[in-house]
């Protein structure tokens, strides 16, 4: 009998809980019917800070749209999106996606088609960006920043080594400067042997219009003598001892940059954000920028590293508001120029380059007009096939072989052959 009474009590509690839940659902529904729209935007730092610089203007123009930023690291964005794709829900309205990973998500079919909305911008934005936003003729993300690469250098270090920055035109000049710096015990650049992430190698390939695959998607890593020569050059730099053996984005790496224990950073324009904001704010004036050393006398003197886009998700019930957001933040020259001024995230929207700000001297770089240098470089970015829907996998397989090569466990030929065959068998490409 006791059991029956307990059962009755349990069922009474259950009814109460159900009623409460129903009330809550009703309340939530009523809330949603309210006229303001809330957009959820996923992005990482410092890009989210860059986007926020435009929010005041956006709020004035669109008082009915509330923004809810969620700060997530790039790798976590991708992980979350993949799990959401598997579950079929949980997507934000808008998210930042790096160009390196964009193709993976356009292929998953979770991004909204913005072909029609983006059409007016086609000619205003750097051409190379559109190839990454497009799948089968449809545009699935709006281009934000480009990653033109230059050579950041430490003025004081160059001076004490007796190196004239304007004498560095080619990678061979870079190598010779490295030998001079070696006498001072300062590496010209840091490239880990055992923990190499292949990113610098990819940059060097990009500069020459090379990549993992060709325009048709066939793996060409082991078929190009230029790719082999590039890897051998990297090996030559390691062997001569001009490179410091330190993994990037680790505390000792940060310390080396802060404490002038490395002479140059052949990196993309966005590195400026990190330098100025927290890596080395106190070294203002001691930095300079020159174009990236080239492989031939004619150039090109840059490559692309990184870059990102904003994507709207198919699942979003606020597509129009989301498009207003994207258009305001990425499609307006004044907004983009302001963003670049605040954060060194380089606009691929070419009309933003006409801002007088682009030609101003920058005291952090010793009064150099560094933005003009990057503008010139951005126009030279070659088309290369590094990023694809299989990029994550190609990069991972290449890293492993690059590490073996750097540690002297295999030759450059073997490394490329092994990486290429692993990529072929894993991605099913020919």
């Amino acid at each position: 009998m006791d059991g029956r009474r307990t059962l009755r009590r349990v069922s009474r509690v259950a009814v109460a809980v159900t009623a409460l839940a129903a009330l809550l659902v009703l309340a939530a529904g009523a809330n949603a019917a309210h006229r303001t729209t809330t957009l959820t935007v996923w992005c990482w730092t410092p890009s989210d800070d860059a986007l926020k610089t435009a929010d005041a203007g956006f709020a004035k123009a669109h008082p009915d749209i509330t923004l809810n930023y969620v700060q997530i690291k790039p790798q976590d964005v991708y992980q979350k999106l993949q799990l959401d794709a598997a579950a079929g829900s949980g997507f934000p309205d808008v998210s930042c996606i790096e160009d390196s990973h964009l193709a993976q998500f356009t292929k998953l079919g979770i991004l909204a088609d913005i072909t029609k909305q983006a059409a007016p911008y086609k000619k205003q934005i750097q051409a190379y960006k559109w190839t990454q936003e497009t799948l089968n003729g449809h545009v699935y993300a709006f281009p934000w920043d480009a990653g033109p690469m230059g050579l950041f250098y430490r003025r004081s270090v160059f001076k004490s080594a007796g190196i004239n920055p304007s004498s560095i035109h080619t990678w061979n000049d870079f190598y010779k400067a490295g030998l001079k710096l070696k006498k001072l015990g300062i590496p010209i650049w840091l490239q880990s042997k055992s923990q190499n992430d292949a990113r610098f190698f990819e940059d060097l390939l990009w500069q020459q219009g090379l990549g993992y695959v060709d325009a048709k998607g066939h793996v060409v890593l082991d078929k190009s003598p230029k790719v082999l020569a590039t890897l051998q050059f990297l090996g030559k730099m390691w062997q001569s001892g001009i490179l410091g053996d330190q993994a990037e984005w680790t505390d000792p790496w940060y310390a080396a940059i802060t404490d002038a224990k490395v002479a140059t950073l052949p990196m993309a324009v966005w590195m400026g954000t990190f330098l100025k904001s927290w890596l080395a704010p106190k070294t203002s004036g001691d930095w300079g920028v020159i174009p990236l050393p080239s492989w031939t006398a004619k150039g090109p003197h840059t490559a692309n590293d990184g870059g990102s886009s904003l994507a709207i998700f198919k699942s979003s019930s606020n597509f129009n508001a989301a498009w207003q957001y994207v258009q305001w933040h990425l499609g307006r020259a004044d907004v983009q120029a302001h963003m670049y001024q605040q954060t060194d995230i380089f606009p691929s929207l070419e009309s933003a380059w006409r801002s007088p700000y682009m030609r101003q001297a920058d005291s952090y770089y010793g009064g150099e007009k560094q933005r003009q240098i990057f503008e010139t470089l951005a126009k030279q970015i070659p088309v290369a096939h590094i990023y694809s829907s299989d990029y994550e996998q190609m990069d991972s397989l290449m890293s492993t072989e690059l590490q073996k090569f750097a540690l002297g466990k295999e030759t450059a030929q073997q490394a490329l052959k092994n990486a290429a065959s692993a990529i072929r068998s894993r991605t099913g490409r020919s």
């Binding site: 979770i110 923990q195 993994a247 492993t400 590490q403 540690l407």
Partner: protein
């Protein structure tokens, strides 16, 4: 069926009802486990078997590929390398850790050591701190070749720096050290429980017969503790092959130099979530399961033969 059967049937029914009432509530109370097990273990296991025969990238239809995934896996150098890594890692740290756990447990079980509770807590602390992530990052900082305290200390002693995270062998040793640090206390606790189950009369009798402490340890304690040691080593085998957080976070690039410290579970995770090769990694998990079962069974039969011998003698 005759009418006479009816009362009997009714009685049977009410007996069944009574039995249900007697067992119904207990069943209801234990059911959450079975429901959760079904939803979160049984179903995923079945789903992964289904997936392992298909090509799927998280969205869209899963394409039937038969045994293709398993066939490709045979030639996957990285996967077999990760199996080999786990085996090497096991050899690097498990014998040392088991022995150390045994010795520490014996010390802390003897009447000669004071502050037993304090020492036990201290050794067990890394396990309950549940901070694998924090520990991995701390070890990364400590073991950095150029700026880590480990090498600074060595250079203070006049020893040349060690490439802790930068050579294939040292990467495995460093990973072993991290795992040992985290799991020593747990294994010690298991051994301690085993030791406390051994009647003290046995060692007292041996002492009366003139046996020294070392002899008692080797001839009485260790043989009687054998089932506990087998248990602890079996857990260590499974634990080593399924290491994930440690090799992911200890090195700046997951899996360490040239994948020398990558484990099967790290490979499975990478293939699922970084490369979106879900069917392929499902096949990987089944092969991984098979390998672990074979190793654990082999080890069990090799080591536990002695137990039967002991029992027979008694």
């Amino acid at each position: 069926m005759s009418p006479a059967d009816r009362p009997a049937r009714a009685a049977g029914l009410s007996r069944a009802r009574r039995a249900l009432r007697r067992t119904g509530w207990p069943l209801l109370f234990v059911s959450p486990f079975f429901v959760l097990f079904g939803v979160f273990s049984l179903y995923p296991i079945g789903f992964s078997a289904w997936l392992s025969l298909r090509d799927w990238s998280l969205t869209g239809p899963a394409r039937w590929v038969g045994l293709d995934n398993y066939r490709a896996l045979l030639h996957d150098a990285l996967f077999w390398q990760s199996m080999l890594n786990a085996a090497l890692l096991f050899l690097i740290y498990v014998p040392a850790m088991t022995l150390l756990a045994l010795v520490l447990a014996s010390l802390l079980n003897s009447r000669y050591v004071r502050l037993q509770g304090f020492w036990r807590t201290l050794i067990f602390l890394p396990y309950i701190m549940s901070g694998t992530v924090a520990a991995a990052f701390t070890f990364q900082l400590l073991l950095d070749r150029n700026s880590g305290y480990a090498n600074k200390f060595l250079s203070f002693l006049g020893v040349s720096p060690v490439p802790w995270l930068d050579s294939t062998w040292w990467a495995r040793i460093s990973l072993g050290l991290l795992v040992m640090w985290a799991w020593l206390g747990y294994n010690m606790l298991i051994m301690l429980a085993g030791l406390q189950a051994i009647p003290p009369e046995l060692s007292e009798a041996a002492r009366v017969d003139g046996a020294g402490p070392v002899r008692i340890f080797c001839r009485i304690t260790v043989p009687l503790l054998r089932p506990v040691i087998v248990f602890s080593v079996t857990l260590s085998i499974i634990g080593t092959f399924s290491l994930f957080t440690e090799p992911l976070l200890l090195f700046p690039v997951a899996g360490g130099p040239a994948n020398a410290a990558s484990t099967p579970v790290l490979q499975i995770w990478q293939n699922t979530f970084a490369f979106l090769r879900v069917g392929y990694s499902a096949a990987m998990s089944w092969v991984y399961l098979a390998v672990i079962v074979v190793i654990a069974l082999t080890q069990y039969f090799l080591v536990s033969r002695g137990d039967r011998y002991l029992v027979d003698r008694r």
